[in-house]
């Protein structure tokens, strides 16, 4: 079936270090969305990438969408304790572009030591 894989599953960094999570889909995605879930919280939308090869930045966060629209990455520069949480990539398949069905990766849980 359709799968979206994320690595690593967990990442512990010292505050100020960089962090990257990678997302790979077994099938082509219509777009890629990134969500952040704080411990005990609900997923909160961060960004959507639509075009092949697209790169978007939000302050210290950089998001990329691969040329084949099957992979994506999120890079955080100089992590802060407020970055703690689980980062999920999610995408609708091309076949689900009209229904909004999101397939989520397993998430990368980021811990930041002050």
């Amino acid at each position: 079936g359709q799968q979206v894989m994320q690595i690593p599953q967990y990442q512990h960094v010292q505050e100020g270090e960089d962090f990257t999570t990678y997302c790979n889909s077994s099938t082509t995605l219509s777009n890629i969305q990134w969500y952040k879930q704080r411990p005990g919280g609900h997923p909160v939308f961060l960004i959507q990438l639509v075009k092949s090869g697209e790169v978007k930045k939000q302050k210290r966060l950089t998001f990329q969408f691969g040329e084949a629209k099957k992979n994506s990455s999120l890079h955080i520069t100089a992590t802060q304790t407020t970055d703690v949480g689980t980062y999920f990539c999610a995408g609708p398949l091309v076949s689900s572009s009209n229904t909004g069905k999101l397939i989520f990766g397993q998430g990368t849980t980021l811990q930041v030591k002050p």
Partner: protein
Amino acid sequence: EPEVTQTPSHQVTQMGQEVILRCVPISNHLYFYWYRQILGQKVEFLVSFYNNEISEKSEIFDDQFSVERPDGSNFTLKIRSTKLEDSAMYFCASSGILGTHNEQFFGPGTRLTVL
């Protein structure tokens, strides 16, 4: 800022009982979804709903599950006969823009515990 609300925050039920989870999506949104997340695992799609009908459902969403938009504001998920493996956090989400499914706004979730 508008938000999706869900009630109850926690529901405990006996196996075989029916439960109804309630959601109030953001008022001008057009698309509604239910997802679930078993503790420590990824978020799984259950169903999407548009124009008063299901637009897509997953394999998880079997005959025991149903959704309804009984009025202009509520969106409910019913599980007819709960099983132990239905224990999870259930998130309702909505999105607004006709023809696209950009940002999905998630509610705070209902934690369902089946004993």
